[in-house]
Symmetry: C3
Subunit: 318 residues, 3 copies
Amino acid sequence: MLAGAAAGMATPVITSAIGGTPALAAPLEANGFRGRPRPRRITLFAEELPGDMVGYGLAPGEATVPGPVLEMWEGETLEIQLVNNTDHRLSIHPHGVEYDTESDGSPLNDSFNAPGECRTYVWRSRTPYRAEDGAWMPGSAGYWHYHDHAMGTDHGTEGLTRGLYGALVVRRRGDILPDRQYTIVFNGTTINNRVAPEAPIFEARLGERVEFIAISHGNSPHTFHLHGHRWADNRTGMLAGPDDPTPTIDNKDLNPGSSFGFQVIAGKGVGPGAWMYHCHMQVHSDDGMTGLFLVRNEDGSLPPGAEEALRRYHAHFS
Amino acid sequence: MLAGAAAGMATPVITSAIGGTPALAAPLEANGFRGRPRPRRITLFAEELPGDMVGYGLAPGEATVPGPVLEMWEGETLEIQLVNNTDHRLSIHPHGVEYDTESDGSPLNDSFNAPGECRTYVWRSRTPYRAEDGAWMPGSAGYWHYHDHAMGTDHGTEGLTRGLYGALVVRRRGDILPDRQYTIVFNGTTINNRVAPEAPIFEARLGERVEFIAISHGNSPHTFHLHGHRWADNRTGMLAGPDDPTPTIDNKDLNPGSSFGFQVIAGKGVGPGAWMYHCHMQVHSDDGMTGLFLVRNEDGSLPPGAEEALRRYHAHFS
Amino acid sequence: MLAGAAAGMATPVITSAIGGTPALAAPLEANGFRGRPRPRRITLFAEELPGDMVGYGLAPGEATVPGPVLEMWEGETLEIQLVNNTDHRLSIHPHGVEYDTESDGSPLNDSFNAPGECRTYVWRSRTPYRAEDGAWMPGSAGYWHYHDHAMGTDHGTEGLTRGLYGALVVRRRGDILPDRQYTIVFNGTTINNRVAPEAPIFEARLGERVEFIAISHGNSPHTFHLHGHRWADNRTGMLAGPDDPTPTIDNKDLNPGSSFGFQVIAGKGVGPGAWMYHCHMQVHSDDGMTGLFLVRNEDGSLPPGAEEALRRYHAHFS
């Protein structure tokens, strides 16, 4: 996060403390990664939040919507001790990784936390492997996500609606790490349970490598569009080389239960400024599924026009 | 199909005779494949079924919803003699393969069966080929589907609603064949024209290679999610090698007219159990677009907890 | 465009003057391409059209819906002088290319044309490049699009609804050029702001290489299906070679703000004829999101059955 509000801005625009994500974890170093590591253990706390929201957090009183980005290296095992500090049944269900039915997070498999209960979920990951018949089967690396699967319905519809979701990144050895990292969840017709002008403003300095993890929940189809930046439509958002035939895109379907991620170099070729991101379904963007990617100058100052753009963003929707 | 219900299960849970697919065809052996084969001929019968459904079948009285999986090797030609044993205009229209306008299956091209009529449709497939200008053009291999294009409207809307659809697999030489194969059609807000607790329960034994062919029809967008298993988002669901940049996914858009397929190794890394599959749009999953992938132990017995999960599945939705 | 109506056709069926696109630009030759070229300059005119439509055109009085296909070679810069000959605020916003905030086309960045105003927008493109950290970042080549982002709302909802959109193709050196080129925009529940029987009929002769650029706007999800033809789901629609694992498809999600393109060889393997293309959501196709790809004989004459198919197309929907 960039510290504080820039000089001269009339209104507070930095909502990243609410809508953004905590500082980058350093999974390699934190885990003493050597080949197949021993399980890494974390504790998550599910808690009620103002505005009828519920969030996951890494410490009591620190729950956010979305929850913290969880990171694993491909091959790692992660043990999550989930503490349910709410009065509702809830759980944590991951996408992309491997887990026994006990860690499924579904009421179907009796895998959830009763109110007040503490329960451990175990997630495993693996590198691509060769099956007995010679086929190469996929590994776990990817931009995934986790979410409740038990509050309100057997599919966690109430938990999802209220904010029990977050990003899960499984990295392959050699993957390039970003300077900054942001989670964008199209949840119903909100972004991270907010709408403009309260939708997240994600910040970076010109030239920084920024990672976006896009996730969707709810009942509606969406498309995610980012102004001024684009990415390759594959696992990393980057190319294997100059002849890689992967399509370049700047607008991608983002439908419930799906996720993708990519990295851009902030302002590369387009300069600093206030760049919109939004759902490209018109009724959704017009109704507030619109936020900003604020690319500052290298020294952290605002480029010409950015302050006015921020004012327009706040004035239009409020 | 696994035989019968396991000991101790109070209620019948094996709906695969209704919602599943017949045993795997063996297209190579059945056809005496040598280079470009002579046309293979089959006869399909379209018939009314209980519950206001209509299905295709390989013999009179054997129609199912979805219809039988049709398989071709890339390069093969398939001649389908369609017998219309209903009182409605109907047809068969394939995706992915080549056909003259006479075999289009559309009223636009006067290509359909009147009530009681027998008509032959010819489908051809080809390997990737080099065009005169040097470009490599795609082959026919893929997880495709076939469906009515004439009942009710010129687009076959009534036929689709009532169940006139099925999977078409065109395999490339060298493709790995599965041990089991299941067709999943998100049709409107049903799965194979059923909803939970009558949605299909697909079964396998731990370690078996299982092929899923996912298809969608109707008016609604969907996403297909499978618990505990994932696949590569490409033609086969597997990788070309350990460095293949294809994304791994476990949730994929499944919208009308589209299809995809993939193979998983049942329970690999996660163990046997009752694994949910469902549309990830919450209102759809809550309303019954939820079924089970039941992975049994290697000896065919149920693993701990599976019976309870099956009971919960039936109790919750009924 | 094929000239005129064929002998013997009772009704005029060639709507390509309305729904199609102008003749192929020749960006290489027109621009004297040598390495990184100097900016190429064009002028676009936004004008009101009959039927409450608004279009872009390359000369006064020549506006169409969709607007002209704009083409760039990867590495080129394009300067668009946009003349607003309407009484409404409007702009031009591109996908896929690079632009400063001044050329964003969004009211957020004060980037639009007031009524009567002339304003220049600059779009840049680049080949794939290696970032300082060694990663290969994507280039600009792709089947993109441009559209209004200012009329009616800050997202241009009125402009989009009324027809202010068009295709933008950025080609990589070595890309194969088509013989014909057509733009298909699923806009709301229309195709190029038309519905059957007025939806576009795209024509080609047997064996011609035809490029389709598919775009979507509005609020609805769609899937694009083409009868008798299929393509590879990547940047070009073609394969890198015979072992390319890219899926072959003939039905693809086409949701607001997204675009894709591909080339087919007209009638290859299926012969000439009237081939339907349509949204595969049944209520959309039944309501008129259906047009034709009319593949004539090599000499330009109509093949057997095509005239009847054209008559049925017109009779059914009118």
